[in-house]
Symmetry: C2
Subunit: 457 residues, 2 copies
């Protein structure tokens, strides 16, 4: 018999996970290796040292260790803002009139407003341990930059954030938040790098782009030996750190004698989805009962559902190693109407392999007006204003709960609520005023993009 | 011996308070009665029915019942976003090098970003129980309006928010948040009321004011029998509902065998301060060991430290009953340089009486650049970006902890962190860029304001 389930379940400090779970160790087919884009040779751990600090490079390619101890410095940082609550959406269930039991793991109640802090903490910690003094990164919407600024403030590292110029103008508050935590925020393109100066020379009025900000951040990190470039999604190491989401969620459900029938995560680069499903995927790897896994992506940037499983660059600037993943092509950009985040052209190589091999059961693309409809409904009944990214998972959770209403099944649905929408009110405003437009890329558009994929045997 | 104290202490659902604590019942000297401004006659419960719904009017004047049951509908709403955590500021302690133990009760992790939701929930619930269909209110910065919109969405009441026009232009996102929760937000002055039309006729380009927004909200509520005007601070009923802050904080400290030596709360209208200190003040009323209570207010709006204890209007528009309280005069406005919230001219009559009678030990006025300095230090070490209002308490908590460093005392300091600063980045930006200016009203300015106080024997 099930215990009475409270609205919110918090683990105690003692119950918080002391180890991350590394899906790579249990995958029968490992992700294809990263390739040097010039030679097409696979990259080993030491090849990654100029890019990542050593511990992170090892984690990136670690296919041996199922569990990796979380160092005490990171555990102590996690204790400041974690555990995040597992919440039973009683009010949403009631509003939908569904027999389904809806649970969500809420990662948005820290100041960065999202789950990104879980990996930022780890990446900054290892950089500090290695004696590095400075990190660089790029940010678009600003969640990753904020998370990294918070972690750098805690561990005492300098941080330069190259922020897409148009974003820094449209979201000056995000810039100020990062500055409050001590980060230097540089609108990109800038005069601080060669690549920035070059772009400004050709187009002084450019709005900037994520690709350009990445290139500037990488160049800035290369100019100092004690500096590294860090990034917040896609990589195996990030999904490793994010595994704490699923580990906590699974443990919290165990405390009330529950286990999900369906697990739903939104997917951009894959950091949240990978982190949420890990602990449950372990059950499937081991041949035990496991949930049905659904990845949700925007119809306007549908890498899982309409992309190719192929080698591609991880960035639009084509300076990174090649990774084999579901991709729309590294220069694919979602329509300017696209407001819902999750605008990455590719998908985590690890999750791509899992989807290709059938371990992730389903990928579903949803249109943004349906996403914001779900977001508003959720906000009214659960009092949390969800981030547009998270709202993709909200949409599918509601759809699955409504199916249960049809069939009368009391399925247990777990989804990841990755963050809050406080800094995304422009998108909400566009939805509320009826100005929001949906967009699906045409087949021709995608074919043209696929034709520019790098040629790899 | 003290137990090992975790970073965060959450009560379980079973441990959450089921009753509010009513300080009025234990006060030896009760606050002076509200007066009808025309007749100067004391107002009884039924005189308040046209203004407040009946249950709230009763609570406003209830000096009998020490505990008031929290109805199940409100308890269930509290369970969605409460309990709020009691947090041990280990990292701040370490950064300060103090032997003091710093605790804070964090009320900002709901979408409204502040403690205001505790009373909004109660006020909307009772309105619904009475069969009302609609509420009106005014909002400046938007925290109260957002909290009320969230509660109205939950309980299914219509809400009209009159938002000071300049605020609705400067904070369009706050407006959108309220709209997302289904509220109608009307920039004030507006054409929807007689008083609004009058003001616009005389000054079509006015920026609006809180006084005008209050007058419009009251007029709009008067136009319908099933509608009431509600407000989020100052009143006894609000402090009653907010008592949950102190009750939870006290219980959480008991769980780790702790009791505060000092309790620090920021004070604007008094809703947070009153809510935080209540459960501890009960110990003082009963002659038991109690903490030293410090109220913190901005030097630019110093009602406790430089105001008069006298009858005054509760609003700048002079339409409300008269209340006896510490006041700077109902038309006092802090300098436009003032960025730190807490800009109310008066102070809760209940708290004013407690301060006058020596139950609140100290009121301290702090300047805003010192407040923001403390806020930035706190954010860096505790990862939470505090609201400017809350940061007043942060400032004094840090000052007290630094005194402990001098003396070597390991005092236990508890302060209220009422909210987050996510929507206040303009103020942070002004501090970071060095443009923030401190301001203290001159004696002449205050004397002129006092001379306009209503004449009451």
């Amino acid at each position: 018999m099930s215990k009475k389930v409270p609205y919110k379940i918090y683990l105690t400090e003692e119950q918080m996970p002391k180890q991350w779970y590394n899906m790579l160790a249990d995958m029968k087919v490992k992700p294809a290796p990263y390739l040097n884009p010039a030679t097409l040779e696979p990259l080993g751990v030491t090849d990654l040292y100029p890019i990542f600090c050593e511990e992170l490079a090892k984690q990136e390619l670690n296919t041996q260790d199922r569990y990796i101890d979380i160092p005490e410095g990171i555990l102590n940082f996690y204790k400041i803002y974690r555990p995040s609550p597992l919440i039973r959406a009683y009010n949403l269930e009631k509003a939908l009139g569904t027999p389904a039991k809806i649970y969500f793991k809420f990662e948005g109640s820290n100041t960065s407003g999202s789950h990104k802090l879980n990996s930022a903490a780890a990446q900054v910690y290892y950089a500090k341990e290695q004696g590095l003094k400075c990190l660089t990164t790029e940010t678009g919407a600003g969640q990753w930059g904020t998370a990294l600024a918070m972690a750098c403030a805690h561990f005492g590292l300098d941080l330069k954030v190259y922020m897409v110029k148009i974003s820094s103008q449209q979201k000056p508050y995000r810039k100020t938040v990062m500055e409050t935590f001590g980060a230097e925020v540089i609108p990109s393109p800038s005069e601080t790098t060669k690549v920035g100066r070059e772009i400004l020379k050709n187009d002084p009025n450019t709005h900037g782009s994520l690709g350009c900000a990445i290139s500037e951040a990488i160049e800035a990190s290369m100019s100092r030996d004690d500096c590294r470039y860090v990034l917040g999604s896609v990589m195996n190491q990030v999904i490793l750190h994010q595994s704490i989401i699923g580990l906590e969620a699974k443990k919290a459900m165990e405390l009330v004698d529950e286990y999900p029938d369906i697990v739903i995560g939104c997917a951009g680069g894959g950091s949240n989805l990978g982190g949420l499903i890990g602990a449950f995927m372990q059950d499937r790897f081991a041949g035990r009962k496991a949930p049905y896994f659904i990845a949700v992506e925007p119809a306007s940037c549908p890498s899982f559902t309409r992309g190719k499983f192929a080698y591609d660059f991880c960035d639009t600037g084509r300076v990174t190693p090649l990774a084999k993943m579901y991709t729309l092509g590294s220069d694919f950009k979602p329509s300017p109407n696209h407001a819902g985040g999750l605008r990455y052209h590719g998908m985590s190589p690890m999750l791509s392999q899992l989807y290709y091999d059938g371990y992730i059961d389903e990928a579903r693309a949803v249109e943004q007006s349906a996403v914001f409809e779900a977001a508003c409904l959720f906000a009214k009944h659960e009092t949390i204003l969800p981030a547009p990214e998270s709202s993709h998972a909200v949409r599918v959770a509601i759809d699955e709960a409504l199916k249960c209403k049809e069939t009368g099944e009391a399925k247990k649905i777990l989804f990841g609520l990755t963050g809050t929408g406080t800094f995304d009110m422009t998108a909400y405003s566009s939805y509320i005023s009826g100005e929001m437009v949906d967009y699906n890329p045409t087949d021709e558009e995608l074919e043209a993009s696929f034709s520019r994929l790098p040629k790899v045997e």
